[in-house]
Subunit: 172 residues, 2 copies
């Protein structure tokens, strides 16, 4: 099949997105790096953790919520543990498991950082969008996220489905 190129409108949107997302990531990183010597992702991980029941989560769950790989998370948690913001605990039910728990110190850090971070997000994003645009933005981003997570689900399923391969092909 011959390639369906992007329409001019799509191209404009794509360029704008590329610019916005890299600039935004940089801006947030810079702000938090100055404020706390940590990149935005690390703050995000702390934030996810702070919303979890009992402020603790299994590594894999945490990785999924933060949309990052497990190995990346291992690194992040190791660093934050050195900083004293997170403590690792052993999982009782599953002895392989590891649990990341937000310490009081970590919570305090997060609370100290939150205002500046929110302010940065406002200044870069929400101060410049109308309420309708905020809604549109959410819909669009949700659609994108859903699409990609759908693809991934497919990519990870192809083989290990016991049905499908075994039967069905007998008629071929």
């Amino acid at each position: 099949m011959t390639t369906r190129w992007l329409t001019p409108e799509e191209q404009r949107a794509w360029h704008a997105y590329l610019a916005a997302s890299t600039l935004l990531e940089d801006a947030l990183d810079r702000q938090l790096q100055q404020e706390a010597g940590m990149p935005h992702l690390y703050y995000a991980v702390l934030a996810v953790l702070s919303d979890a029941p009992d402020r603790r989560m299994r590594m894999t769950d945490l990785a999924e919520h933060a949309k990052i790989t497990r190995s990346r998370l291992t690194y992040v948690v190791t660093r934050l543990e050195k900083d004293g913001a997170i403590r690792r605990e052993n999982c009782q039910w599953d002895k392989r498991g590891s649990i990341a728990a937000l310490t009081d110190e970590g919570l305090a850090l997060l609370e100290r950082l939150a205002p500046g971070h929110v302010e940065a997000v406002r200044k870069s994003v929400f101060d410049h969008l109308t309420p309708e645009q905020v809604g549109q933005f959410e819909e669009i981003c949700s659609a994108i996220a859903a699409a990609i997570e759908g693809e991934e689900a497919q990519r990870n399923a192809p083989d290990d489905l016991p049905w499908r391969r075994r039967s069905c092909s007998s008629g071929q």
Copy 2:
């Protein structure tokens, strides 16, 4: 001043954005990494270059267009030069200057990669947006990009504006 937190709508939009942008970046990286052994950014740099007049650009210009730091670009170009996709040339008018030129090989590479990349962008993004949403997306992203570039301009200007500081404040 007391912090203006995000409204629930803004929070939802922000979460959706965070998820979408990280997933998207990962998806594009993975696709291009498989296809060509290079991350998305490297492709983007080649693409910018291919649109430039005569397919060559000063390093600083290229960095600005790609929204990355000069030092990051130096690294990228060095790698792509090793791959044979880019050649460095000396600038005639300004002997400090360095020019990145897309080679024929680089252009061929780009053309080989383009269909798969566009397909990935479609699958992840545009196949799931209505035409109206494409327009909204562009507006929103442009607003964000403009906001951040505006801030940066301010951050880099603060001192060296001869006017402003001198006059104007006399009436205060």
